[in-house]
Each structure stands twice: as structure tokens, then as C-alpha cells.
């Protein structure tokens, strides 16, 4: 593998002590960690070969939103925009909201810096994820979102990481720390987009204190050449609720590890995800839900459509510890293959050490439903159009589950466009 560390170290800027010590620890961990190969079980179907090229530190860009091709959902709340990893004040917007504190690490005041130092990395297990260590090693300007105790954020917070095409393959990191304090409520949308073959190493951490409710979306809308290896780590305390929604279009190499720890009684997680691949794209979602305590629930649904010579990996692990009685956990992964050369490797893994639990899992790789196809054709819709409509519906069913209307409005036409579905109208206007 290419040297992923040096280009970023060369571009390093001075940091406060708490950040510098984090960097040094990360550097030591990265340098001592063994790089995964195809012989590593968790990396069996995903090769890191695409990272074997020289990388440069990403360069700052001053292009306008239009020049960048930046198209964002209209969420009406605060928005922080980073281009090539650099903050762009001109593209960002801060809507005052007494329920939240939203700062970049470099802007954190003393209290915030102390909270970041205390919580950052606290839910990421030590040596298990080398790319998390890499993220630590070059840690610069992350985002800290704090939702204050008992408060409800008025509007969604949007965090955008966009890459502009660079002359050489660029490398950059993304870091997000969300601290949802007791009985707080907020919506966060992470957005990755851009052009070119940059490599991004993303690492959001979500910490939900007792009774907190967080709705989180992570949209990977990068180019077909983009490289992304990253992970999402969340910890849920008593009665906390996390809705986490993941979308992946494209990417030459995308590997996302999602780890959710139920560490308080009665925590609930709804995890939805979708991947749409064509060409020679590759996406690998590894999810792991740890049920450590009783009365927690998980509803996990991932769906994918894989065509051309693209390949997808889904590995969904649900680990129910001996104390986690009265757990309810459901995991479903459904895939549609639209070409004979497309590939899906799906594996649900239930590890259950408690006896009083309700668990269900299913993974399928299938063709579109024949009876649905026939029904559409009896209504005059030609077979090829019907297949498009059904593919759209297969994925859109997950979008419809999402509560944030502005996000649905953003995704639906993009999905329709992706499938080439001739959907002439906005059904949300239909009842008017």
C-alpha cells in the first residue's frame, strides 16, 4: 500500500496539545497496525489495491459552489462546507440555535476542547480499525456538534465534504464528533460529494446520552473514481434512539464500517442503508451492532442494486451478549443484480449468547418480483419501463421511511434519474 501518512503529515499545521497527543497516539497505532489483506476475514472481498498509488496532500480550492458542482439538499439549517478537507466559510451558513453548539475543532473554546478531548475516540476500539488510527494520526479540523441537555435542535445540521478534481490523487480526512446530551434531539446530515479520484478517510462518532434521540444520515454521492475508507462508531446510553441512514452511489473503493454499541437499557437503533453500483464500482458495508444490555432493539435494513461489473459486500453482524435479555433485533439485506457480471457477497452474522431474545435475519440476492412486473404490464407499462420502475421502488421504499422530508425530496429525483425512470410528477403534491 502507498504511504498514506506522510503526505498528510507534511501538510500538518500546529495543533493544541490535546490534539497533538491524539495525533501522536494515532501515528503510533497506524505504524504498528497490520494492513488488512484479502486473507483478513473482514477484508475477504475488498481489496485495498486501489490505494496503491502515490497520494498528495489535498489542496485548498477557491472555486464557487457552481464551479464545484455542489448540489445540496435544502435543509434550511446550519451548514458547514469543507472542500478538499478545508473549511469554506463562504459556502457555509450558521443558523443560530440555542439547542446546539456547532464548531470546528480549531475554533473550540476551552469547555468544548475539553469535551472533545474527553469523548473523541472514546467509542472507537483501539487497534481494530487501522484507518481510524490513520484518521487520528493526521487529525486537524474536525467538526464538533453538541446538543445540549433537554434541548431540541430547531433545524437539521448539514455537514458537507466535497472534493474538487486535483491534479494528483489527493488524500484527506473527515472527522465528526456528535455529543447528544441527555434527552436532547437533533438531525444531522453528512454529505460526501465531488469529482476525481481523491481518497477520503472519514470517521464520525456519535455519542448519545440517556434518552437522546439522534437522526443521522450519511450520503456518499461521490464520483465513480472516488476512494473512501472509513467508519461510523456510535454509543447509545439508556433509552437513547438512533436513526442512521446510509446512501452510497458509486466509488471505485468504498469501505464503511458501522459499529453501534447499545450500552444502556432500552436503547433503540434503526439502521437503513442502500447502495447503487454500476461500472466497476465497489462498496463494502460492514455493520456490527453490539447488544450489551437488556431491552435494546435494532432494526437494520440494507438494500442494494448492483449492475455491470460492479461488486458489493454486505456483512451484518449482530452480537447479543449474555446479559442482553429481551433483545429484539432484525436484520435484512436484499440485493438485486442487474447484470450477469455483477457480484454481491452478503453475510448476516448473528451471535447470540442470551436466551430470551427475538432475532430475525435474512439476506437475499434476487431478481425483481415476477408478479409485480406482470401487474405493471397489465396496466400497459412496457416490460423495460416496468423493470426501471420496480428498481426505483425497491430502493425508494427505504427513502420513504426517512422522516426528513427535505432529504426525501432531494433523493427521490436523483434516484429516478439514476434509474432513468420517467417519473413526471412529485407525488408529494398529489394531495394538494
Amino acid at each position: 500500500m502507498a504511504d498514506l501518512l506522510t503526505p498528510q503529515l507534511n501538510a500538518e499545521t500546529p495543533a493544541p496539545d490535546w490534539l497533538q497527543s491524539r495525533r501522536l497516539a494515532g501515528r503510533a497505532a497506524w505504524e504498528s497496525s497490520e494492513m488488512p489483506t484479502r486473507k483478513t476475514e473482514a477484508w475477504k472481498y475488498t481489496s485495498l489495491f486501489a490505494l496503491q498509488q502515490p497520494f498528495m496532500a489535498a489542496r485548498e480550492s477557491a472555486e464557487s459552489a457552481e464551479e464545484l458542482g455542489l448540489e445540496l439538499p435544502q435543509l434550511a439549517g446550519s451548514r458547514l462546507v469543507f472542500v478538499n478537507g478545508f473549511w469554506r466559510e463562504d459556502l457555509s451558513e450558521i443558523e443560530p440555535d440555542a439547542a446546539i453548539e456547532l464548531v470546528r475543532f480549531s475554533d473550540a473554546d476551552q469547555t468544548q476542547a475539553a469535551l472533545i478531548a474527553q469523548h473523541l475516540g472514546s467509542v472507537v476500539p483501539g487497534n481494530k480499525h487501522p484507518f481510524s488510527a490513520l484518521n487520528d494520526a493526521v487529525l486537524a479540523d474536525g467538526v464538533f456538534l453538541r446538543i445540549l441537555t433537554g434541548s431540541k435542535a430547531a433545524r437539521p445540521v448539514q455537514l458537507v465534504w466535497h472534493n474538487s478534481p486535483q491534479v494528483d490523487a489527493a488524500i484527506n480526512s473527515q472527522r465528526l464528533l456528535v455529543l447528544a446530551e441527555q434527552h436532547s434531539e437533533a438531525t444531522v446530515v453528512e454529505h460526501f460529494s465531488g469529482q476525481g479520484h481523491s481518497f477520503t478517510n472519514g470517521l464520525p462518532e456519535l455519542i448519545l446520552a440517556a434518552g437522546a434521540a439522534l437522526s443521522h444520515s450519511r450520503l456518499h454521492l461521490e464520483s465513480a473514481e472516488a476512494l473512501h475508507v472509513g467508519g461510523l462508531h456510535a454509543a447509545l446510553e439508556r433509552d437513547a434512539t438512533l436513526n442512521s441512514f446510509h446512501v452510497a452511489f458509486g466509488g471505485k473503493l468504498k469501505r464503511i464500517d458501522i459499529v453501534i454499541n447499545h450500552q444502556g437499557h432500552g436503547a433503540h437503533c434503526q439502521l437503513d442503508g442502500m447502495y447503487l453500483l454500476r461500472g466497476q464500482e465497489h462498496v463494502d458495508y460492514h455493520t456490527c451492532i453490539e447488544h450489551a444490555l437488556p431491552h435494546c432493539t435494532t432494526d437494520e435494513t440494507f438494500r442494494g442494486i448492483v449492475g455491470d461489473k460492479a461488486s458489493a459486500v454486505f456483512n451484518g453482524r449482530i452480537h447479543i451478549h449474555p446479559d442482553a435479555q429481551k433483545t429484539r433485533a432484525e436484520l435484512s439485506n436484499k440485493n438485486l443484480l442487474t447484470s450477469a457480471t455483477a457480484e454481491v457477497n452478503t453475510k448476516p452474522e448473528l451471535e447470540i449468547y442470551a436466551d430470551d431474545v427475538q432475532c430475525a435475519h435474512g439476506a437475499t440476492v434476487a431478481q425483481l418480483d415476477e408478479s409485480m412486473l406482470h401487474y405493471l404490464r397489465t396496466r400497459g407499462i412496457p416490460a423495460d419501463e416496468a423493470l426501471v420502475l420496480l428498481s426505483y421502488g425497491f430502493i425508494n421504499a427505504l427513502v420513504e421511511k426517512q422522516r426528513l422530508e427535505s432529504l426525501r425530496d432531494y433523493l427521490k429525483p436523483r434516484l429516478a434519474n439514476y434509474f432513468g425512470a420517467a417519473l413526471a410528477l412529485d407525488p408529494d403534491d398529489a394531495g394538494g
Partner: protein, 250 residues
């Protein structure tokens, strides 16, 4: 309009239709009644071109064309409509998206221009109101989570929007309460015209109290064994299907 001659069809190697003959002329309403397993639903599926139903003998002519040679969607373009006994749920595709795709496809095939969005939405809302369905159903996934009665009303709504020449209603009355049945019946009655025909497939005579057919046929063991007017349906209702077993089939 529809001429079925000596139709034999099988499903999974089992003969279901065994020499069915039926003539429907423009503007006529025919009812086909019969006991469970007589082949009633198979007839609808065969006419719609459902995969898995193999025609082994006979012919079907619809508006001068060899129906059995046409793809399912081409049959719809020609004006054939089947209201399903068990309408299919399609999560993720809204009813409105589906209806627009359907009406656009049929109109395009007939050389008519597509409705503009606003005009279409007005028509869809009118059709929704005509079958007594809340407008919210237009936004929901096709038949997704609809009750039995709501699914049947949704079928009727599609029928109104597509304005077919021949409407086949496959046990549309089953599972409906009296109110829903009256909605379906008044919808059908409003659509009756000199150029449009109906084939009502039903197990019970009840529907025929609300939609008066011109002809009633009795289907048993894959063939029409008796034809008559509404009095035949009443007689069946009074005496039961076993009456036919005794008098005709045995």
C-alpha cells in the same frame, strides 16, 4: 369484441380450462359464475397473459386481433383491463407515479398525447373521489398496506383512468362489505357504454343485484356449461352449485 373458441389452458401441467367458448359483443355485460376451482380466475390470468399459464388449444380474438400473440402490455394498449382479485403491492412506487406511468403508456400507444401533469393530477383526484378513496392514497406505495376493500377501489380507479374497451373484474366483489360493493357497482355502471364491455367473474350472485348483466354463464370444470340471463344467477343462488352437478355435469 371478444371471441374465445375452444380454449384449453394449463398451469404447472394441470389442465384448468378445457374447451371454453365465449362471445362478448360491444356494450354487453357478461357474468361468469362458478364454484371454487372451476377455472374462473384462470380465465382472467390467461386473457392478461400471465406467465406460467400455458394455452394448449383454442383461440382468443379481441377487437379483431389474435390476443394470444400479444404481450401483456400490448393487450392493455388495445383496451383490455383486468381488475385483479389480489392486487399486487409495490412498495416504493407511489400510486400517483404508477398511475401516470400507466396512463401515459396506454395513451402513447394509442397515439394520444400525454396529459400534462396538472391535468393528470386533477383527473386522478377525481377518480380517487369517485371510488371514495382518500386523496392520501395517491401518495402511498401502490396497494401498500391497503385493506382488501381499498385495493379493489384502487383497481376500479385505474380502470376509470385507463378507459378500457373490455373490463374483466376478477372476483372484485369478494371480501367487500355492502358499502364498498355499492361503490364498485356504481363505478362500473357509470362506465357502461355502447362501446365498452364487461366480464364479471364472481362466486356469488350478490354483485349482480347491483350490476345487472346481459348474460350469465356458469363455469364448471373448465367449460361453460350453461348460459342464460339474470334468472340463472338467482336460480344458482337459491339451489347452490351442486344443483348443476346433479342436473348437468354428472
Amino acid at each position: 369484441m371478444l371471441s374465445i373458441k375452444d380454449l384449453h389452458a394449463e398451469v404447472e401441467g394441470k389442465n384448468i380450462l378445457k374447451g371454453l367458448n365465449l362471445e362478448i359483443r360491444e356494450g354487453e355485460v357478461h357474468a361468469i359464475m362458478g364454484p371454487n376451482g372451476s377455472g374462473k380466475s384462470t380465465l382472467g390470468h390467461v386473457l392478461s397473459g400471465r406467465p406460467g399459464y400455458e394455452i394448449t388449444q383454442g383461440s382468443v380474438e379481441f377487437l379483431g386481433k389474435d390476443l394470444l400473440k400479444l404481450d401483456t402490455e400490448e393487450r392493455a394498449h388495445l383496451g383490455l383491463f383486468l381488475a385483479f382479485q389480489y392486487p399486487v403491492e409495490i412498495p416504493g412506487v407511489s400510486n400517483m407515479e404508477f398511475l401516470k406511468a400507466s396512463v401515459d403508456a396506454v395513451r402513447e400507444s394509442q397515439g394520444a398525447s400525454a396529459y400534462d401533469t396538472v391535468g393528470f393530477m386533477r383527473r386522478a383526484r377525481e377518480a380517487c373521489a369517485a371510488v371514495d378513496l382518500d386523496q392520501a392514497f395517491l401518495k402511498r406505495g401502490v396497494n401498500e398496506g391497503f385493506s382488501g376493500g381499498e385495493k379493489k377501489r384502487n383497481e376500479l380507479m385505474q380502470m376509470m383512468l385507463l378507459e378500457p374497451r373490455l373490463c374483466i373484474l376478477d372476483e372484485t366483489d369478494s371480501g367487500l362489505d355492502i358499502d364498498a360493493m355499492q361503490v364498485v357497482a356504481s363505478g362500473v355502471n357509470a362506465m357502461r357504454s355502447e362501446s365498452r364491455s364487461f366480464l364479471l367473474v364472481t362466486h356469488y350472485q350478490r354483485l349482480l343485484d347491483y350490476i345487472e348483466p346481459d348474460f350469465v354463464h356458469v363455469l364448471a370444470d373448465g367449460r361453460i356449461i350453461r348460459s342464460g340471463d339474470t334468472s340463472l344467477a338467482l336460480e344458482l343462488e337459491a339451489k347452490g352449485y351442486s344443483w348443476l352437478d346433479d342436473s348437468e355435469v354428472a
